[in-house]
Symmetry: C2
Subunit: 423 residues, 2 copies
C-alpha cells in the first residue's frame, strides 16, 4: 500500500468539480462541489449522532438505505439544519438538480451541507449553476471540489492511496472538511471517499465502521458534535478485482488502505482545528483494553485546560492526569508515567499535501513517573512544546492495550472565530 | 427563610480566620483559612468523582466517615494532588497542626487544598503560622477566610440564611471558591458550609446530596472536573432546635434554606468563571422529566461554541439546538422554542455581596418557535445579549418538567489565564 497524489478522483471512473454559486454573501472561495462516478457504485455512510440532524443528512441516510449511489453534491456556507419542511424540500431540490444534469436518479445522489445553522438554503443559486458545475467535471476537478466544502478550515484536506487486491491495482481517494464543532462521535464533519475497488455495500459499511473508531472518532477540536457530520464512500468496482463480499485477505488489504487514509484525514482535521497553532497527539499505552486507552487519550485532548496549557507551551502535566481522572475510565494513577515528545521542525499534518513520517530529531522529556512528579528541565520542556506537533505519551501498567487521539490547542483565535461566526 | 449578612461565622458558635502563610511565591492575598466550632459537630461532605483525587480529599473522606468534625483547614496556591506518599503525609500534617492548636483530635479536622497540581505542598509554612491563625479566630474572621481559598476567582463567594425550625432560629452559612476546572459532577470546587442547626449526620448528608443535584451539579465553566472538589457542612446544634433525625416539616425547612444558599453559590461560581464577561442561565421547561431537563440545560451552557457566541453577543441559536442534540437526551426538535431574555443593568451574581431578584426591566426575544427559525430583530437581540446576565429559555412540548443550569461565556481571558497558570 502506498500514498499517491490526488484525492476523490484518484480512483478509476471518478470525476469532480467545484464552483462558487453564491450561497453566502461575501464568500470568494468555491461553495458547491460535485463528485460523479461513470458507473453506479455500492455505497455506505456514517452520520452524526446528534439528535438534531440537518435536512441533507436525513435525505442522504434515506438515499443510502439501498447501499447504492453514483454522485455527491455538497455545499458550504449553509448547514440546512433546523430549517423545517422548507429545508427538507431544498435538500431534495439539490439532489434533483444534480440528478437532472447527470441523467441519473435523485435517489442515487448523496446530498451534504455545511455552514451556519438555522437559515434557509438559497437552493436556486445551485439550480442556476448546476449545468456549469456538471460541464466542468474532470479528473483534475478534485482541486476545485476540495475547496468548495471548506468553512473555517485554513487548508483543504485530501488524501489518496493505492494498494493491490486480488492481483489488481485498487485506489481509494478522499476529501474532507472540519475545523470547529468537532468532537469524537460516530461520523465526523463532511468526508467524501471514493474507490474503484469492487466491494459489496455490506463489506464497505463494515470497513467504514471499523475504521472510524480509531480515526475520526478519536478527534476532538471543541467538544461540539455537529448537526451535519457525514462520511460517505462510493465504490464503482472499476479496478476489476473480484468483488469483496466477505472477510479475508482482500478485505484486509482494502481495510488497511482505507484506515491509512482515515488516520491521515483525522490528523489533518485536528491539526487544522479552529484557531489552532499546534497538533496534539496523545498516545496511551499499557491500558487494560483498547476502548479504555482511546477514551483516556480522548479525555486528555478534549480538556480545555490541557488545550490552553499547550497554547501557552506550559508543561502543566497535572491537567493531563486530571483529565484522565474524570474520563470515567479505569487506570491506576500510582503507576502512571507521562512524557512529552516532539520532532524538530515537525509540521501539523494537513499543512502540506501529505506528511508521512516526521524527519526531524525527536526529543522527549518525562515529567511524571510511576505516580511521582519529577524535577524536570523546564527550558527543555518549553522547547519541546514549542513545535507545531507535540505528542503526549502516557504509559500505564494496567495491561497491554494502546490508543491514540488527536486534538489541538485552545487559542485566542478560537474564541475570535466563534464569537462572531454567524454575522 | 431570609438571606442575612455574613458567611461561615453567621451560625452560633462558629469562628474563622485567614492569613498569608506563603504557600506560593508572589501571592499577596491570604492563602490559609481556618474555621472552628466551639462545640463538636455532625458533619457531611461530597467530593470530586475524579479518579485522581488530591491527598487532602482522600484524608478528609476518611475523617468524615464517622459523621463528625469540628474544624476546617484549607489552603490555596497548591492542590496537593498527584503528590504521592509525601503529599499524603503533608495533608496529615495540616490536620495535626490545626488539631494541635485547637486542642481537638486530628480526625475531627477537614483538610482541603486548591491550586496547582503536581507540586509538593510546603506544609512547614502552615505549621509555622498555625498558632497566629488560631489566635485570630473571630466572628468577623469570615472576611479573612473567604479570600484565603481564592485562586483565579476575581470575587469572594459567601452567603448566609436564617430560618425557623421547631420554633428556634437556625442559621446556615457558606463560603466557596471556584473559577476554572469546573464542571457538573458530584461535588464542586471547595465549598464550606456551617450551621447551628441540630441535625443528625445522616440527615445532613441526605440534605446535601439532594441539594447539589440542582445547584452545584448544574454549573459548568470549562468542562473540566477538578481533582480537589469538596463540599462539606458542619452542624453544631447550638440553635437549640430538637435534633432533626428524619424527614418531615423540620427537615423541609432546613433543606429549603440549604438549597437557597447552594443555588446562590452555584450562580456565583458560574458568573465568576475564568475570564467570563457574563453569566449564562439556561432554563429548559416542558421536558419529559427533571434529569432530562437539567442535562439538556447543562449541555447548552457547556458548549464551547455557545459560550464563544455569547462572548461575541451573537444570537447564534443554532448552536443551542446543536448542543441539546448531542446531549444524548430525549426531546423533539420539531416542537422546540428558544428565546433570549435579560434584565437591564442585571449584574452577575457574585459581584455584589448578594443579589436577590433583578430589578431592571426584562426584555425577551423569541428566535426559534415550534421547530421553525423566526426572522427576529438582530439589534434587539444584540442589546439583550449585551447584559451581564443572560437567560436562555428553551420551551419543549415533551412533558412538564423543568431544569436550570448556569455557565459563562468563553473569552480571550480564559485562554490567557490558562495558557500560563502554572508558572
Amino acid at each position: 500500500m502506498q500514498f499517491i497524489d490526488g484525492g476523490v478522483t484518484a480512483p478509476e471512473g471518478f470525476t469532480a468539480n467545484g464552483m462558487l454559486c453564491g450561497i453566502k454573501a461575501g464568500r470568494t472561495k468555491n461553495d458547491t462541489a460535485l463528485i460523479y462516478s461513470e458507473k453506479p457504485c455500492t455505497a455506505a455512510g456514517v452520520f452524526t449522532q446528534n439528535r438534531v440532524k440537518a435536512e441533507s443528512v436525513k435525505l442522504t441516510k434515506k438515499h443510502l438505505e439501498n447501499g447504492k449511489a453514483q454522485a455527491v453534491i455538497a455545499n458550504s456556507g449553509n448547514a440546512n439544519a433546523c430549517t423545517g419542511a422548507q429545508g427538507a424540500e431544498n435538500a431534495l431540490r439539490m439532489a434533483k438538480a444534480a440528478a437532472g444534469v447527470l441523467g441519473i436518479s435523485p435517489e442515487d445522489v448523496v446530498v451534504c451541507s455545511t455552514g451556519v445553522i438555522g437559515q434557509q438554503l438559497p437552493v436556486e443559486v445551485i439550480e442556476k449553476n448546476i449545468q456549469t458545475l456538471k460541464d466542468g467535471l474532470s479528473k483534475k476537478g478534485h482541486a476545485e471540489a476540495r475547496t468548495a466544502i471548506m468553512t473555517t478550515d485554513t487548508h483543504y484536506k485530501e488524501c489518496a492511496v493505492e494498494t493491490e487486491i486480488g492481483g489488481k491495482k485498487v485506489r481509494i481517494g478522499a476529501m474532507c472538511k472540519g475545523s470547529g464543532m468537532i468532537h469524537i462521535n460516530l461520523g465526523t464533519m463532511l468526508s467524501f471517499m471514493t474507490t474503484d475497488c469492487a466491494i459489496s455495500s455490506a463489506m464497505l459499511e463494515k470497513a467504514l465502521r471499523m475504521s472510524i473508531e480509531g480515526t475520526y472518532n478519536c478527534v476532538s477540536v471543541d467538544g461540539d458534535t455537529s448537526t451535519n457530520d457525514t462520511l460517505t464512500i462510493l465504490a464503482n468496482g472499476m479496478a476489476g478485482n473480484a468483488e469483496i463480499v466477505s472477510e479475508g485477505k482482500d478485505f484486509d488489504a482494502f481495510y488497511e488502505a482505507l484506515n491509512a487514509i482515515n488516520t491521515q484525514m483525522a490528523k489533518k482535521i485536528a491539526g487544522d482545528g479552529e484557531g489552532a497553532t499546534r497538533l496534539i497527539e496523545c498516545n496511551v499505552s499499557g491500558a487494560c483494553d483498547v476502548p479504555t486507552a482511546r477514551r483516556l487519550a480522548k479525555s486528555v485532548i478534549s480538556s480545555s485546560l490541557v488545550k490552553a496549557a499547550f497554547f501557552g507551551k506550559d508543561a502543566n502535566w497535572g491537567r493531563i492526569l486530571c483529565a484522565m481522572g474524570y474520563s470515567g475510565e479505569q487506570f491506576t494513577p500510582e503507576t502512571t508515567t507521562v512524557a512529552f515528545e516532539s520532532a524538530e521542525g515537525a509540521q501539523r499534518t494537513g499543512f502540506t499535501d501529505f506528511v508521512g513520517e516526521q524527519t526531524g530529531k525527536k526529543t522527549s522529556i518525562t515529567v511524571f513517573e510511576n505516580g511521582v512528579p519529577l524535577n524536570f528541565d523546564e527550558d527543555l520542556a518549553k522547547k519541546i512544546l514549542s513545535e507545531d506537533e507535540v505528542v503526549i505519551n502516557v504509559t500505564l501498567k494496567d495491561g497491554n492495550a494502546c490508543g491514540t487521539a488527536w486534538g489541538c490547542d485552545l487559542t485566542y483565535d478560537y474564541v475570535k472565530i466563534n464569537g462572531d461566526y454567524r454575522t
